[in-house]
Amino acid sequence: AQTVTQSQPEMSVQEAETVTLSCTYDTSESNYYLFWYKQPPSRQMILVIRQEAYKQQNATENRFSVNFQKAAKSFSLKISDSQLGDTAMYFCAFRGGAQKLVFGQGTRLTINP
């Protein structure tokens, strides 16, 4: 069974700083997708970024980028020039041959003014 681990329960940085959230996963599959979801206080789940395992190039979406290390089964999220609106829970998720998403425990990120 796949597992996703986020080892940082909470993080806090100053506005405009760069922050990196860690995620590791375990799977025996070779083709899969990895995701980062943002959950603000409204508790809606918002897709931040997606990475396909067969692509070597790291995904980027504006201020958000990932460092995907397939051999190490690591998928970290970097947020550059952090903004107050980035304050939220961030969940790493895995999706392989099965249809379901497997989520990590989440990292609570606080951006301080």
């Binding site: 899969y32 995701f35 789940m45 897709l47 969940f91 249809q99 379901k100």
Partner: protein, 115 residues
């Protein structure tokens, strides 16, 4: 941008009562899902639904749970006899393609409180 719509946003019920949570997936999507999140915990998969049948379910999804697509637009989750531990945020999600091809679009969730 199209949205997954969930109603109600909040539901309060007594233990032992039946509840139905409703979802309207994005219109051209073919795969539908329910997830739940107990307060302070991670999001957990409940069930996936494709071609009018359950394609996968988790251990959480026992005989007390059922899903239905009663018409061409709605997708419902029924809990027959609610327990205190069913209190959680329930998320509906949908995707256009199969498991490897598309991202999931989540609704805003229904907060279920069982008293």
């Amino acid at each position: 941008e199209p949205e997954v719509t969930q109603t109600p946003s909040h539901q309060v019920t007594q233990m032992g009562q039946e509840v139905i949570l409703r979802c309207v997936p994005i219109s051209n999507h073919l795969y539908f899902y329910w997830y739940r999140q107990i307060l302070g915990q991670k999001v957990e998969f409940l069930v996936s639904f494709y071609n009018n049948e359950i394609s996968e379910k988790s251990e959480i999804f026992d005989d007390q749970f059922s899903v239905e697509r009663p018409d061409g637009s709605n997708f419902t989750l029924k809990i027959r006899s609610t327990k205190l531990e069913d209190s959680a945020m329930y998320f509906c999600a949908s995707s256009e393609g199969g498991p490897r091809s598309e991202k999931l679009f989540f609704g805003s969730g229904t907060q279920l409180s069982v008293l």
